[in-house]
Symmetry: D3
Subunit: 140 residues, 6 copies
């Protein structure tokens, strides 16, 4: 039983702002700097979804990556692409729109859906810029 890790990359472009509604503008500005701009800014996000499992002897696939791509698009990308993360994304409602929180929320959207494909979600990596990225392995 050989366990492999298979990764699919997807992308989305979204607007967001870093803002804690419990704080006044001065504290938001002091904490988040230019990321707190009330008029929003945005990113080209790159999302890497890694699943683990054994290759199926009939197909050679751990899981059909077309299926992984479909699930990631239905559960994640369609809710985020060309959207405002703070205002429009159901699974980010009431959550600070940091890359950390978004990465965890994407994991939660995907975990059961990947299990339905017969594989195990192993890692979500979300790249905000070429210099910054976050990874979550479901650790609690």
């Amino acid at each position: 039983m050989k366990i492999v890790y298979v990764t699919r990359r997807e992308r989305f472009n979204a607007a967001h702002q870093m803002w804690n509604p419990k704080w006044d503008e001065a504290k938001n500005k002091a904490t988040f700097g230019k990321c707190s701009n009330k008029n929003w800014h945005g990113h080209n996000y790159e999302l890497f979804v890694t699943v683990k499992g054994e290759p199926n002897p009939e197909t050679g696939y751990c899981v059909d990556l077309k299926e992984v791509s479909r699930v990631v698009n239905e559960s994640v990308i369609n809710h985020l692409d060309h959207k405002n993360i703070n205002l429009e994304v159901p699974f980010m409602k009431g959550i600070l729109a940091s890359t950390e929180n978004l990465t965890i929320a994407i994991w939660e959207q995907l975990e059961a859906k990947i299990a339905e494909l017969g594989a195990t979600l192993h890692k979500v990596r979300l790249c905000e810029t070429e210099n910054n990225f976050v990874e979550y392995f479901g650790e609690e």
Copy 2:
């Protein structure tokens, strides 16, 4: 007199929306699709500024790229980074926030400033995503 072309890359993250204020929502939606989202979306823009000139025999430089970088930051990046292109950028006021128009506007911000450095602005390339980019050479 050997002419070289020297390029400096800079980056900015911004929000925008594709929207023609002379049209109603239906026509904007039909024309611009998800790019017309009223709640904005955004990108990691990559900007490549190319200047031409002869290397100075004293320095080996066509122009000091630290100076090019300073000028591009002062005239362009500081106005765009973590901003809303439609709402906050003086040189985009009243202009549709397409990559084409933004590339031309960046050229116009830079042309005289690069000349003051003793070089000639040759090209502005602006990449909106890994799949789409626009170049402008000042052609009219």
Copy 3:
């Protein structure tokens, strides 16, 4: 009338072989080396299609890149992706499957279609590997 150059990237994965049917195996081997392997090899090709034109004042677009993408997919990618360039691609019939010839053939597929979109085809760049690429500007 400001002229901008707009580029769209598309990708395809294909098999090919370098083989001149007028030559025997020894000469093909001597000329093309391992690229002449009769059992084929393949590449992830990256295609950059650059069109030129003025931004439309109503849309800010030189041409809608979704339309460019549709045309490139219909006329080029659908014929090449997951295909054998030597055996299956109508517009490469009887043509040596070099990157040079493929780049020219892609230009010929696209030139009229891009004109129908109201823009002018300016350049086709085709990357075979990270180390090798070919560009064609329609020069004859």
Copy 4:
């Protein structure tokens, strides 16, 4: 005793097809889609081989990466580059040519050879496209 992980990248271009010989054409087509094309398609594969060990106090190296490169070329790349994975690769005989299976087979080619260099094979990562890759750590 500080343990570091050292990675070497190598590349190869190959043709393959997804095909289960126990199935008829219709089932292969239904399962593998365009990847089942009988005339083959191909990829630029990127291979990352990670070994672990302690830096040698005499050389500062965990292992000489020139040696890792030599071993990877002799044992893996020379058998795959400009080849047909289904038809020509000894260590893939009778194995479905998926990235998963190829990654595991590459591990098996390398594990003992890396040990002979005094290091331990830790991971094989094989990238098929910019969107898909597989990793294997020898887990059974």
Copy 5:
């Protein structure tokens, strides 16, 4: 308590040479090849620093990446950028200038400083070229 891994990329350009002062020139040449050139060579190093921790419910951040960047610049980059690793870097004094040793030394510079930010240093990845990189997780 969800644990995320957050990575910051920084870069530096430096000169070095592979040389064991206990050996004569012939043995250094035989061991290190062209990397032993007495007149030095150099690289564009890419450094990825990964820290782990829980997102702060007030900020959504595991740690402010601006702070990580400041610490990495003060403790590491400022000592390495545009420097000679063999001659000028305090924390590499007496240590062979291999990527392995440099990666470990960077870990040692950062571990306590990252702890002061309230996070835990998880990994240092140092890329010497596009083909070679080293990772250290603090394993002893």
Copy 6:
């Protein structure tokens, strides 16, 4: 007679310093900043050599890129890789080691050699970092 442009990428790692020997240390420091470090620094240079010509109807090649690669390695890379550009490179003797001057010098090394292959040298692009590059087309 269709003219295509074919590009080959090669790489080298070298040390250099920006220093005008006619100036004292203070003026060098004021002009070149940290690039004037007497103990050198270095880069991973990426070199793109573009040649133009017609595809040969017998081979489909404008020029055999293996030949271009051989010429670039013999005439350029072997003199620069793992070398000190100021001290050891014959064709840079007495020339300030800027990217501009190095790009022109590489052009001069290659122009006649590419002509011997039956093609025309069109462009040399030399990338010093991911943010800075120089191009030369032989313009005087």
